[in-house]
Symmetry: C2
């Protein structure tokens, strides 16, 4: 008999008395045990591609806090790396890619063979399925095509997204070719993640906020829906969570037309608005400000309780509005978990 | 007899057949004539505090494009500078401030004397009132307290706003003292701007997007409304435009309760949503993506027309969703103006 995991129940639309909880970037630099593994791993990509180490850091926050879900430790930029683009991570700077500049750079990207080149990630997932407590759900993930494309064209993080938006405006057909390749590669990659043991898929569109309203549907919503539908066609019953960060009012469109069971809200969204406006078919996830987890104390406790109260009676997964930041005191995370579970004094 | 300026008519609630147009950061590095003046001015703050030069760069885009409004050339960080904080601008890096770290740093900030120390700005405004064509409206401005406070506490631009939000969470009373001082200094400064000739005031809350929904009202909406109300109490009839960038659904709150005539929308807001949802009492301003102005062409033309069409029949000021970026071709700006005025081929 399989255990009825709380995260899967919430994603099937069940409003639980206490929401399940996991936190974006729950495996990471704020944990001393992560920093110890990170130090012995060589480069950041080496860590992503070392199944034993990647599985170990994925499990660390589960052991420490007993979260309801574990999310594969990896990075959204392993996909362009597997497509043949040069990707490296500079300490204290962030990702650096050899930027795509013209159509032939797009045409040179390989979709075939992506899964083979990402085989270590699938090995990590297999190790995790064996190593996780049976009540903990295993989440696989990928970057959404728009966000991944923005790194591929900008060559790293960007302030104004001028290069990638400029391309999309000037040459929408060429840019569509890039997005289509990313959709194909991402579907193949996530399909393999599910085969290897992922039970839920989350798509991160961290830079959806950079898209003006007129092109948000084309470059963010449609590619994410295409991926969600393809995964469901191959694996009926696998829930998908979309995280189009910073889209404001357009969260409504993603709830209605995103083709996913879950929608992760950034901290700018009022939970009461989400409850009133978003399709009741979608399970909302979120949305505590990660900086409240740094400062902790009564402000954190009050806001965590307010989020749970505002979303009571509707399917809800407790999470942050964005990833944990490195300066977060680990004790604050423990306190948050006990508050959400209603176990604190 | 005074000319009935189009910008003022729009801000009084008139839906004009063609919206008036001006663009945020219309005086700036994309213009060769600006770069020429900038080079001879010494530091960036020297330029802000040289009335003849600041007036000259304010007038440059008016001469070139015939915008309906000129906005004072200055910077939001002249206020902390005038309050006694060390502020400098590093070429290619951005602003650098000696960050506020504890309560006594806040208590040391001076509100008295701010207007005297900003006297050159008022001289710029007086020069502009004499130098501007009579149909062009003169806009004064200041940063909103939250955004200015974020620079004062972070010491510059920030990725995650951890220091300033941490302060607001940990010590809301202390942080309120900083906001209160900024409100007082900003009211005195804007009062003097109006006396010197500003006909409209815009408040820029560029980093309102960093505020989660639970504290957006306290740190963004309320201080901006306090400033707007104080200016109106002293100068009845002076319209105020609020620009709480990136607040998504909460634009509705600012339209209803912001105490201002105008609301400037970032590019993430769908104009049709704005027309349907925002209080009809408020004049909406915006919201073309500045990157469309870089790429130009049919995409820019179509989107500019779509914005005008979506907001037809309601008071509207055409603008961007954010400031012009330096790589913008000046010819694209000319084409945009002629499209909005309906004069293009």
């Amino acid at each position: 008999m399989t255990v009825d995991k709380t995260l899967l129940r919430a994603l099937r639309g069940e409003a639980l008395p206490r929401p399940p909880i996991w936190l974006m970037r729950q495996a990471g630099r704020y944990l001393p045990e992560y920093r110890a593994v990170r130090q012995e791993a060589g480069s950041f990509l080496d860590l992503c591609f070392s199944p034993e180490l990647a599985a170990e850091v994925t499990l660390q926050p589960i052991r420490r806090y007993g979260f309801d879900a574990a999310i594969l430790f990896s990075d959204i930029l392993v996909v362009p790396h597997a497509m043949g683009q040069s990707v490296r991570f500079e300490e204290g700077v962030g990702p650096r890619l050899e930027p795509l500049k013209e159509r032939r750079d797009i045409d040179a990207l390989q979709v075939e063979g992506v899964v083979e080149r990402l085989a270590p990630v699938m090995e990590t997932l297999r190790l995790l399925r064996r190593g996780l407590p049976q009540e903990v759900t295993l989440i696989g993930f990928a970057g959404a095509p728009w966000t991944v494309a923005s790194y591929m064209v900008e060559g790293g993080s960007s302030r104004d997204f001028a290069l990638v938006k400029g391309w999309a405006y000037r040459d929408p057909e060429g840019f569509q070719a890039l997005i289509d390749r990313l959709v194909a590669a991402t579907v193949a990659y996530l399909d393999a993640q599910v085969v290897a043991g992922a039970e839920v898929i989350q798509l991160f569109d961290s830079w959806a906020s950079a898209l003006p309203s007129g092109i948000l549907e084309r470059w963010s919503l449609r590619p994410m829906r295409a991926i969600a539908e393809a995964i469901k066609a191959r694996h009926p019953g696998i829930p998908v969570i979309l995280f189009p960060r910073g889209v404001g009012v357009a969260y409504e469109d993603f709830a209605r037309a995103g083709g996913a069971e879950g929608l992760s809200l950034d901290s700018g969204v009022r939970p009461a608005w989400a409850k009133e406006i978003l399709s009741p078919q979608v399970t909302v996830q979120g949305n505590l400000d990660p900086i409240l987890l740094v400062s902790g104390g009564e402000a954190m406790r009050a806001e965590a309780r307010a989020i749970c109260a505002a979303l009571e009676g509707r399917p809800h997964i407790f999470n942050l509005g964005h990833g944990i930041v490195p300066q977060t005191p680990p004790d604050h995370v423990a306190e948050l978990v006990s508050i959400v579970r209603g176990a604190e004094a």
